[in-house]
Amino acid sequence: MNLSHSLLNQLRALIGADGVLVSHAARFTYEADALALEKHLPDVVVLPRSTDEVAALVRWAHAHRIPVTPRGAGTGLAGGATPERGGIVLSLNRMDQVLSLDPERMLAWVQPGLVNLWLSQRLAPQGLTYAPDPASQQVSTLGGNVATNAGGPHCLKYGVTMNHLLGLVVVLYDGSVVTLGGEAPDAPDFDLGSLVTGSEGTLGVVTEVCVRLVPRPEAVKTMLFDFATVEESCRAVSAAIAAGIVPAAMEIMDQHTVSLVEEWLHLGLPLDAGAVLLIEVDGPAVSLERQAEQIGELARRHGARSTRIARDEAERAAIWKGRKSAFGAYGRSASGFYIMDGVVPRTRLAEALSGVHRLCAERGLEAGNVFHAGDGNLHPHVLFDADDPAQQAAALEVSHEILRMCIRMGGTISGEHGVGIEKRPMMRELFGRDDLAAMERVRRAFDPEGLLNPGKILPGEGEPTAANPAQLGGMRPVGNSEGPWI
C-alpha cells in the first residue's frame, strides 16, 4: 500500500505536519519492534498528541480501509508492534503526560506514551508507586504495558498490569471514544477493559489509563543464594511458595547466564554455582527479618551453599544489575539468540529446565536460562551462530519443542511478552479450533473489518503451524548493551 499525496495531506491536516512521518529513514525505525525476525515498513508513521487526534486518525483510517498498528516504545519481543500489513504505525510516544495524580485516593490518569519508570519516579515523593515493573520499565510505556498485560519481576507479589488498572479511555475501530471503567475499583462495564488489556492493540487504541497506586514498601531486603544445580534452586522456590511465603520477587539465573554476566560486569557472582536465586521481600520493616530468616532456612534445606544479603541500596542495585543484564550478556556471546517466554506450573520448574537443556543438547545448541521462577515463567535463550543456516533452523525447531513441552506440562506459550506475530503459529497447538474461532468472533465484535493491528495473535486460515525457518536471518540481538527487556 502506498498512500497518495492527497491522503498524506489529509493526515497532515488531522495531526499536523510534524506528527506525520513519511521519509524512508523515519519509517525504517518503525519496521519492527525488538523482534527483528519480521520487518515490514509502514507507509506512514503518525504521532498524535491527544485522544481526539487518535480518534480522528482511526476514524480516517477506517474510512479509507488502512490498517493501523499502535506502538509504544517498541520493546516487545513478539512482533506485536510490527506493521505486518503496512499502513499506519500509530506511535503514542508524544502522549507521555501524567494527566492527574490523586495521592489520597491513590490513583493517577496517565497517557499511554508515559514511560513506566517515569511514573514511579514521579510518585516517589508522595510515598506511592505503580507496582507493575516489567524489566523494560526504563523504556517501555504504560500503553504498551496495557497492550501486553505486562508483568515483571515483582508481579509475583503485586500482580500484573491488569490488576492495577481502574479505567481506560479507548478509541474503537470507527473512531468512537469510550471510557471503560473509571476511578473506582469496579464499574458495570469494566469487564470490557479487562479484555482489552493484553489484547495487543487489536481491540482498540488505549489513549488514557487510570492506574491504581500502592504505597511504596517501607523496607526491602534482597538476597542471593547459590546452588550446585538449577534443580535445587527450583525446589527451593517451590518450597517457599508451599510454605505460604510470597516474596516480592524470585528470579533464577543458571550457570551459563551467571558466567556470561560475571565475565562482562564483574559483580562478584559465584562462577561455580549451578544456579543463583535472587529473592526480594518487601513490606513493613517489622516483617522482613523473619521472612528473610524463613527463606534462608528453606534455601539452605534445599541445598543453598551461601547467602548474600544486600546491605545497602548500592549492593541491591548490583544484584539486580546482574539479573537485568542477562539479555545483553547473551548478545555479547553469540551472534544469534532466541528468547522464549513459556510458563509451566511452578511445581514443574525443575523438570522443565531439564527438558530445555536436553532438547538443546540433542541439537548441539547451548541455552541459557534467566527467569521469573516464582511465577513459573521461563525465559530460555537458545544461542546459535546467526550465519549458520543449519543452526538457525535447529534453534527455531528447539524453541517450538520447548514451548510444546510447556503446553504438555499444563503451561502456556507466553507469560508476559505476548503472541504478536512470533507465537501466532503456536496458538494452534495451545488452543483448539473452536477456542480460536470464538476469540476471533469477539475480536470482530470490537473491530469488524480487522484493521486494528491486523493479523496479530490469532493464526489465520492456511498459515503454517510453525514459522518459516527462512525468516531466521533476522533473529539477531538488538545490540542494546543494557538489554533490560526480559
Partner: protein, 412 residues
C-alpha cells in the same frame, strides 16, 4: 418425561422446575446435567428449539431478582462440583463451576491457603455464580475482583460449543482473555464450566477491631486519613441495623460501627493494631483467628440483608465521603467497604431512584440494582459501549439462547 422435556438428556437429569423460581416465574423445565458434555448437549438442543436458558448455580442471587422475560430452561450446574486440579505448591486451583464456595474454602483451608473470592451464602453460592455475578465482599481491594483472580476457564457457548481460554498457570498472555469477559457477565454470554484461580497463602494472624462511631466521627476526614496506607484487609462501615446482624452487641450501640480487618504477619498486625489504638483508642470489640474469619463472613452476609438492594462503587478509600448520605432514608442498613469504595444500600419501597440520584452527587456510581424497580441512569450510557456489548453478545450467542444476555448487554 418426554425426550423434548429433557432436551435429549437422560430423563434422570430432569429436575423440578418449581425449585428454580426467579421472582414469581418458574421455568418450563429444569435440568441438572452431570458433565460438561451433557451441558453442551442440553444447550445444543435448547438452541435448536430456540428456548431461553438460564444457567443456575446455587440460586442464592438469581432467585432474588425480578423475573426475566424469557425463562424456558433452568440449567442447574451444581452437579459439576469436582476439584479438577489442586496443587497447593502451585498456589492455584482448578475446579468445576458448580462447586460451592464453602466446599472450596474448606479444601484450601486444610492446606493453609485461601480462596480469594467472597460471596454471601458461601454454603450455597457456587464458583460459577460468584464469577458470573462478579461478587465480592469486604476484602474487595485486598483480594481483587474475580477478574483479577481467574487464570482461565472452560465454558460452553449457547450452541453447545465447548471453549477454553487462559490456562492454569499464574502468568499467561496467550490469546484473548474471554474468561475475564465472562466475569460479571451474569450467565448471559456463555455457561462457565470450569475455572482456574490464583490463590493466596492464609495470613499468619487475623484480627478484627470493631469501633463504634457517630455520624460526626464518620464525617471527620482527619480521623480516617491514615487508613488507606495502613493497608487493612477491610474497613467496613455499618449502619446500626446492619451492625446488629453481626452478633456483636457492642457494635450496635452507636449509630454506626466500623469493622477493621487486619490480616498479615503477626508482627505487622500487632503494629497495625498499635497504630489504630493510638489514633482511635480501644475498640468496642476485638476478635482474632477463627472468630475474625467468622466475622468477615458475616460482613459478606449483611450485603444481602434485604431483597431490595442498590450496589455502588466509588473511588473513595475512607469512610468520610459517606457523611453527606447519612440523612437519607435507609442509612441504618448501609454497608460500606471503605477501602474498595463499595457501598450497599437497601432502599425503602419507592425510594431507590432518589437514592441513586443523591449518591451520584457524591461520587457513587450504581453498579447493581435488585428489586429496586425501573431506574433511570444518572449518567447517560455510552452509546458506543452499548453497541459493542450487543456485538459481543451477537458474536457469542447469535441465537440469543442465554436469556440473561439481554441484561448484560443492556445494563450500564
Amino acid at each position: 418425561m418426554s425426550a423434548v422435556a429433557t432436551l435429549g438428556l437422560d430423563p434422570a437429569r430432569a429436575a423440578d422446575p418449581g425449585r428454580y423460581r426467579i421472582g414469581d416465574r418458574a421455568p418450563r423445565l429444569a435440568l441438572k446435567p452431570a458433565s460438561s458434555a451433557e451441558v453442551a448437549e442440553a444447550l445444543r438442543a435448547a438452541s435448536t428449539d430456540q428456548l431461553g436458558v438460564i444457567p443456575w448455580g446455587g440460586g442464592s442471587q438469581l432467585a432474588r431478582f425480578e423475573a426475566p422475560e424469557r425463562f424456558d430452561v433452568a440449567l442447574d450446574l451444581s452437579a459439576l462440583d469436582r476439584i479438577v486440579v489442586y496443587e497447593p505448591e502451585d498456589l492455584t486451583v482448578t475446579a468445576e463451576c458448580g462447586i460451592t464456595l464453602g466446599a472450596l474454602h474448606a479444601t484450601l483451608a486444610d492446606r493453609g491457603q485461601e480462596l480469594p473470592l467472597e460471596s454471601p451464602h458461601a454454603a450455597r453460592s457456587t464458583l460459577g455464580g460468584t464469577l458470573a455475578t462478579n461478587a465480592s465482599g469486604p476484602r474487595r481491594l485486598r483480594l481483587g475482583a474475580p477478574r483479577d483472580r481467574i487464570l482461565g476457564a472452560r465454558f460452553a457457548l449457547a450452541d453447545g460449543t465447548l471453549i477454553r481460554s487462559g490456562g492454569q498457570v499464574v502468568k499467561n498472555v496467550a490469546g484473548f482473555a474471554l474468561h475475564r469477559l465472562l466475569c460479571g457477565s451474569g450467565g448471559g454470554l456463555a455457561v462457565l464450566l470450569e475455572a482456574s484461580l490464583k490463590l493466596l497463602p492464609g495470613p499468619e494472624a487475623r484480627v478484627v477491631l470493631i469501633y463504634a462511631a457517630t455520624g460526626e466521627q464518620l464525617a471527620d476526614a482527619e480521623r480516617w486519613e491514615r487508613l488507606p496506607r495502613l493497608d487493612p484487609a477491610f474497613a467496613t462501615v455499618l449502619g446500626r441495623a446492619a451492625a446488629d446482624a453481626l452478633g456483636e452487641p457492642e457494635a450496635a450501640r452507636a449509630p454506626f460501627a466500623v469493622a477493621v480487618g487486619l490480616e498479615d504477619d503477626m508482627k505487622v498486625v500487632a503494629q497495625q493494631e498499635r497504630t489504630l489504638g493510638a489514633a482511635w483508642g480501644p475498640p468496642v470489640a476485638r476478635l482474632e483467628g477463627a472468630e475474625a474469619i467468622a466475622l468477615c463472613r458475616r460482613l459478606t452476609e449483611v450485603q444481602d440483608q434485604a431483597q431490595a438492594r442498590l450496589t455502588f462503587t466509588s473511588p473513595h478509600r475512607v469512610p468520610a465521603p459517606i457523611a453527606p448520605l447519612l440523612s437519607l432514608a435507609g442509612v441504618e442498613r448501609l454497608v460500606f467497604h471503605a477501602p474498595a469504595g463499595r457501598l450497599h444500600w437497601f432502599p425503602e419501597s419507592g425510594s431507590a431512584q432518589a437514592i441513586v440520584r443523591g449518591l451520584a452527587e457524591h461520587g457513587f456510581v450504581l453498579i447493581g440494582a435488585r428489586r429496586a424497580g425501573d431506574l433511570e441512569p444518572v449518567v447517560a450510557p455510552q452509546a458506543a459501549v452499548r453497541a459493542l456489548r450487543l456485538r459481543i453478545r451477537e458474536a457469542l450467542d447469535p441465537g440469543r439462547v442465554l436469556a440473561l444476555g439481554e441484561r448484560w448487554a443492556e445494563s450500564l
